[in-house]
């Protein structure tokens, strides 16, 4: 960047004015960003007029569209017709489906047989042994609250589905991870797939499984597995691959066989990553198990879904609280182990003690299961739906509008929609299609490689080809507005966090809790505050994406070398100068990653925002599901995947591109 805006000394000395434009151009060309974009600009200059002449400059031209509705509809019909007769369904999908249903049912029956007392005590015991007394008490209290809210049965249904989905995800993920961890070739094939899968919104996975399995528990479990297995696979592979080379060499020098090497060295040393993988898989599974209510998973998600569709905030909250509690308990229980890994294992006496504790605990659970009635006693429940709805009505009456000076939440929502999102949407929809493609290419090329650029452009073009251009631009406008809000808020808080350790300490537990919650539950409070529409969807997206942005950006800013800061301070830089000239440039990779995460997370919530009136591609998925019109839903689902892919690639800083600087 040293050459920015300077002219060559000779041109300045001889004829400054005449030489200036040429010198400027040359200096500009010396900037790496300009050099990277130049070929693209040249290509655009040639292709754009051509595209304009051939297909016009409106939204996506019809001539370039392919209608998939017909073929997809007939494929869907074929599947529906043959579901009970074709061998593929009878002997493969049929067994998968039946097996999953049977497994979920079996777990559910066991949970019911244990009764509320047995399950609560069991959860507390497991949490206590795995993560300490506090986790145990949290589990105990959380399950009790689930019962109190009269949500015991739905909680157990969700839990049964979760157990099956998590076991399947961990097994599938671990196997894939093992392959990728041990074989270089498998790693190279799997890695981009897994990375991409993690960037796609949950909604994109629903339709393909519905197409094959219909609506019900089995597709819900499968969608959950597809969504939750990638982190396990990824972390397993990374854990296996990051084993200390020196230790592996030492193990090899002792004459270990490959099997011994895996079992005694690589897997145990990847333990932390594996546990982190299990933790992430569980959290993702919960998130998806709740969303999967739209394809027939019953349980807590279904209660929230039903309540939201009638804007019954009270009922939604009553089902939402158990979801949050379940998330907290599961996270505390499964992430607690990681930190205990360092504690030395005790001798035989300690092991006997552990065994005794478990035996006593299990005996107590069995006793509870046998003596206490199975269902949560009716008289012990608290119905919060009505008071919550009354409170919400009060909110509507007093906060929605007409607050002196600041308006009200409904006014804000209207302003947000009318002043920001609508103009943005109209601009995007009015943008010539080739200009949109060129813009995406330029953005992707500015920080990425040719490959990410090509993927991003192809993904956007695919949306156009499938005929979802206008809808996608609607969704895109919502995403961009919410991402902008997220980044402004997130970076501001991140700067504060990086500045003061106290802020960091205060915020950390809040961020921890917010990061564990499933996307779905964020919809509940925003509906109470802002009603339905695009504004509450955006608010939920911002709240959902903020913790990750704050954390990544904050850590990036704090990781800036103190030496660089000290030296800039010693030169007399002000706080502002330090921030803009030292911290931001040095934390650039972290900030770019934060942008990427913001985009991915915001998109995922904007899509499910369709459930509270957000419209766009998400609405088409919901609409397709509700009407049983799989073609509409499936195309919308694929478009969502393409949009996710495009947004991820546009914001994906690659290592190679960074080194090139």
């Amino acid at each position: 960047m040293s050459t920015t805006g300077t002219t060559t000394p000779r041109s300045v000395a001889t004829a400054p004015r005449a030489q200036e434009p040429a010198g400027r151009l040359r200096a500009l060309l010396r900037r790496p960003a300009a050099r990277r974009l130049l070929p693209l600009a040249a290509a655009g200059a040639v292709l754009a007029p051509l595209a304009h002449v051939l297909w016009g400059s409106e939204a996506w031209p019809d001539a370039l569209s392919v209608s998939l509705d017909g073929p997809l509809r007939s494929a869907g019909d074929w599947i529906v017709d043959n579901r009970d007769s074709h061998w593929l369904f009878l002997y493969f999908f049929g067994y998968v489906s039946a097996g999953l249903i049977a497994a979920v049912h079996a777990v559910y029956v066991v949970l019911l047989a244990l009764g509320w007392a047995g399950v609560t005590a069991g959860a507390a015991l497991v949490a206590w042994r795995a993560a300490g007394v506090r986790a145990g008490v949290t589990a105990l209290a959380s399950f009790a609250v689930c019962g109190l809210l009269d949500m015991w049965v739905p909680t157990m249904r969700t839990l049964a589905l979760m157990v099956v989905a998590v076991v399947a995800s961990v097994v599938v993920g671990a196997l894939l991870g093992l392959a990728a961890g041990l074989s270089e070739r498998a790693f190279r094939v799997l890695r981009p797939v897994l990375d991409t899968m993690q960037a796609l919104p949950a909604f994109a996975y629903l339709l393909p499984v519905v197409l094959v399995f219909g609506i019900g528990v089995a597709p819900a479990v499968l969608a959950t597995v597809v969504y939750a297995a990638p982190p396990m696979a990824r972390l397993t592979a990374l854990g296996l691959r990051s084993t200390d080379r020196g230790v592996l060499e030492a193990v090899e020098s002792l004459g270990a066989t490959p099997r011994q090497r895996l079992l005694t060295a690589r897997l145990p040393m990847a333990r932390e990553q594996l546990l982190l993988g299990v933790n992430q898989t569980i959290m993702m599974a919960l998130s998806m198990a709740v969303i999967a209510s739209v394809i027939g998973a019953d349980g807590l998600g279904d209660r929230v879904y039903q309540a939201l569709s009638t804007v019954d905030v009270g009922a939604a909250l009553a089902a939402g609280i158990p979801i949050v509690l379940l998330a907290v308990v599961l996270d505390r229980t499964t992430s607690g182990r990681t930190s205990r890994a360092v504690v030395p294992r005790g001798g035989t006496s300690a092991r006997t003690r552990t065994a005794t504790t478990w035996a006593l605990g299990l005996a107590a659970i069995a006793a509870l299961a046998l003596t206490v009635p199975d269902t949560w006693p009716r008289s012990w429940t608290v119905r919060i739906a009505r008071p919550v709805n009354q409170a919400k009505d009060w909110l509507v009456d007093h906060l929605y509008t007409g607050l002196p000076g600041i308006g009200g939440t409904a006014d804000w929502a209207a302003h947000y929609t009318g002043w920001i999102v609508d103009p943005l949407r109209d601009t995007l929809q009015g943008l010539p299609w080739w200009a949109a493609l060129l813009l995406v290419a330029a953005l992707a090329r500015a920080i990425g490689t040719w490959r990410t650029t090509a993927t991003a452009v192809a993904a956007l073009a695919a949306i156009g080809v499938m005929g979802r251009w206008t809808t996608a631009m609607d969704t895109l406008s919502q995403v961009l507005a919410a991402v902008a809000a997220t980044l402004v808020l997130g970076f501001a808080v991140a700067v504060a966090v990086a500045r003061s350790a106290r802020t960091e300490r205060l915020l950390r537990p809040v961020l921890d809790v917010f990061q564990t919650m499933p996307q779905f539950v964020y919809l509940i409070p925003v509906v109470a505050l802002f009603g339905v529409g695009r504004a509450p969807a955006a608010a939920a997206a911002v709240v959902y994406a903020l913790p990750a942005v704050i954390r990544i950006a904050g850590e990036g800013l704090r990781a800036v070398s103190p030496g660089a800061l000290e030296s800039s301070r010693s030169l007399g830089a002000t706080g502002r100068q330090q921030l803009l000239q030292v911290q931001f440039p040095l934390a650039r990779p972290a900030l770019l990653l934060a942008v990427n995460q913001a985009v991915v997370l915001v998109l995922s919530v904007v899509i499910i925002g369709a459930l509270v009136g957000g419209g766009g591609l998400g609405y088409e998925v919901v609409f397709g599901l509700a009407r049983g019109d799989l073609a509409v839903g499936l195309v919308a689902g694929v478009s969502i995947a393409c949009l996710g892919l495009m947004l991820d690639r546009v914001t994906q800083p690659t290592k190679g591109a960074h080194d090139a600087r």
Binding site: S253, L254, P268, P344
Partner: protein, 362 residues
């Protein structure tokens, strides 16, 4: 050469390495095979073929019971060389034999057996398993071999005691200091009771005081058990201190191979001379090299102090200075020469005559 050295020299070598090459890069095998390429300097070779040479045409023998030190600066190929011995790095060409058996021809099982029972290695960065206790780390090699739990634990406990870590069996590597971790690494290598111990810069990561302790430990172990050792180091003082013979490497080649005294007393080229310039010569060179021929009267006489032929000059100075008169050098009770103030001071000043040195080396 002392009597012990001569005895050792007569036995067949433990390791016999001939014309060993290790080249990294695309189609590495053509480099040693093509005389024209084999001659190139490292820079020219990288430019022409994209290959880097780790080990370049190295031959040496490791004799039973000796401490053979391979010494060189970083990048000289010494770590690659020691890894080639058990094929942790696959050599490009040349031959390696252990007790006359061709290592390069071994199949996977034979190689595994070699690594399990005959040659154990100690690493610079210890290579301990972080999730296991000290006891289980030491027993790990035996576990790999399939030794039952009780027996391998008993053996491991014995080794832990031998390296002075008693009472720490239950700790994890992370709870130990660097020196203690390396003792665990040493115990792990000893547990398999191998014929040869290979050390890859074992003490480079330790701070100086602990390093000296560990060197003493190795010297003591060698004195007690007489196990053959191949020791890699970049520290000349360490090499001179514990080595029976030293191979000095530079750019993948062995530039000189000999006893510490030969290396210091008669450097093969300017590089070696430069290398050993700051060595306190009186502590390495023996009176055999410093002495002058005895006159008839001196040889017959029985007055004055005597020193053995293997005594270092530093020790002889002590003797001569205390007594005030020249000392007779005895080999097997026979007087082979005389050291006086002048001879000894010439060594300290670095003035031994070259002609005399060649004779001694021959």
């Amino acid at each position: 050469m002392t009597a012990a050295d001569t005895r050792v020299a007569d036995q067949p070598p433990v390791f016999s390495v001939r014309n060993l090459w290790k080249v990294f890069g695309p189609r590495a095998e053509r480099v040693p095979a093509t005389p024209e390429l084999a001659e190139l300097s490292p820079e020219a070779l990288r430019e022409r073929t994209g290959c880097t040479v780790g080990v370049r045409d190295v031959s040496f023998d490791v004799r039973p019971g000796e401490v053979f030190v391979v010494m060189g600066l970083s990048g000289s190929g010494k770590s690659t060389l020691v890894r080639c011995l058990t094929r942790l790095i696959e050599p490009t060409s040349g031959s390696i034999a252990i007790d006359g058996e061709d290592v390069c021809a071994m199949d996977r099982n034979a190689l595994r057996e070699l690594r399990r029972r005959r040659a154990a290695m100690v690493f610079q960065h210890f290579g301990l398993l972080p999730h296991r206790t000290v006891l289980d780390n030491v027993a790990y090699g035996l576990e790999i071999q399939g030794v039952p739990k009780l027996r391998r634990r008993a053996k491991a406990a014995e080794m832990i005691e031998k390296v002075g870590l008693s009472g720490m069996e239950g700790r994890r590597p992370a709870q130990l200091s660097g020196g203690q971790q390396q003792r665990v690494g040493l115990a792990r290598a000893l547990a398999a009771d191998p014929e040869v111990l290979l050390f890859d810069e074992p003490f480079s990561a330790l701070d100086p005081l602990i390093r000296r302790d560990m060197q003493e430990e190795v010297v003591r172990l060698h004195r007690d058990e007489g196990r053959t050792m191949v020791f890699i180091t970049h520290d000349l003082a360490e090499a001179l201190h514990i080595g029976d013979r030293i191979a000095l490497m530079r750019g993948g080649r062995v530039v000189q191979c000999g006893t510490p005294e030969e290396i210091v007393g008669s450097p093969a080229d300017d590089y070696v001379r430069d290398f050993v310039r700051d060595v306190p010569r009186e502590q390495v060179i023996t009176v055999r090299r410093a002495m002058r021929p005895a006159t008839l009267a001196e040889a017959r006489g029985s007055s004055g102090p005597t020193v053995a032929a293997g005594t270092t000059v530093a020790e002889a100075i002590d003797v001569v200075a205390r007594d005030g008169s020249p000392a007779r050098v005895l080999d097997d009770g026979r007087c082979v020469g005389i050291v006086d103030f002048k001879c000894l001071l010439r060594v300290v000043a670095g003035l031994e005559g070259p002609g005399r040195l060649e004779k001694a080396a021959a």
